[in-house]
Amino acid sequence: MSGRGVKRLALLALGALLLAGEARAVLPDEQLANPKLEARARAIGGELRCVVCQNQTIDDSDAGLARDLRIILRQRLVAGDSDKQAIAFIVRRYGTFVLLKPPFDWDTLVLWLGPLAILAGGGVGVAFYLLRRGEAARAAPPALSEAERVQLDGILGTDEPA
């Protein structure tokens, strides 16, 4: 193959790779015929954590349990559950840990408000620092004592041209 042919092949492969998009573990046999329901299932599946491989969503995971949960999720939607009800169905079994976006709750208070609290604390600290520095700059320097004035005169005096 000529150098040009190889180059063209490489470009073609790269293009195919870009077109492929993200790989999902949702298999064809799981998918719903109704595209609206399937889209809702995908949206929910992307927000639920797989409890086996904990840093993947159930849509991304190849684990058997993730597949079971995807199927259950679709069954709930077909049965007429709202998105919220379908999510609650799984949370009842596996806890709020499966929600990749943690809910605003008593035990997640530190998680949600911690950064704000730290920012506020830092702001207060900076405000105090600036305030104190301003005060120090404004305060008039203390007057010279008699001895200091004599000493200063002596120094300045010697520098003065005769």
Binding site: V52, Q54, G64, L65, D68, L69, I72, V91, Y94, G95
Partner: protein
């Protein structure tokens, strides 16, 4: 006052390190069960050996029991198995839930390794396990005499788990019923 202010960053640093060290000690696979304090969800499962009774949620009442979720394909279950057999020999009632498994494979597994269970139900589809919030095998629930879940162990029960946690809990639950 000033001295205290200078120590504040150091104190915060120590607090962060302590939090991280505690966090490192946590096993992220040990998820708390949402069933604690709630009755077992209703289920009725076929047996693994034809002609037997299987296992239903209403079988888990009367006295505190262990409900052990296992499977013939599960490696850690084989590690746990001798512990379960020893507990059965002590008279601890254990029910088995055979999760995502062929009944015949589970029957063979129990014939080969010994059967620690009073009753075993076969959860071929895994749905009952999912209703229980099972993420993997083995998992073991402590169910009190009223059928309420009191505790869950994720992973194989070690003799140490039994001595330190499960035995005292079972004794307390038995005293109440």
């Amino acid at each position: 006052m000033r001295g205290a202010l200078f120590l504040l960053p150091a104190a915060l640093f120590v607090a962060v390190i302590v939090t991280f060290v505690i966090g490192l000690g946590h096993d992220p696979s040990q998820l708390p069960s949402t069933l604690i304090g709630k009755p077992l969800p209703a289920f009725a499962l076929p047996p693994v050996r034809p002609g037997e009774a299987g296992l239903a949620s209403r079988d888990l009442t009367g006295q505190p029991r262990l409900l052990n979720v296992f499977a013939s394909w599960c490696v850690s279950c084989r590690i746990e198995h001798p512990v379960l057999l020893a507990l059965k020999a002590q008279g601890v009632p254990i029910e088995g839930l055979d999760w995502k498994d062929e009944a015949a494979a589970a029957a063979r597994y129990l014939a080969d390794n010994g059967d620690p269970y009073a009753q075993v139900g076969n959860d071929r589809s895994g749905r009952t396990g999912i209703d229980l919030g099972v993420a993997g095998v083995p998992e073991t629930f402590v169910v009190d005499g009223k059928g309420v879940v009191r505790y869950k162990v994720v992973g194989p029960i070690s003799p140490d788990d039994w001595d330190r946690t499960l035995a005292p809990l079972m004794a307390r639950l038995r005293a109440k019923t």
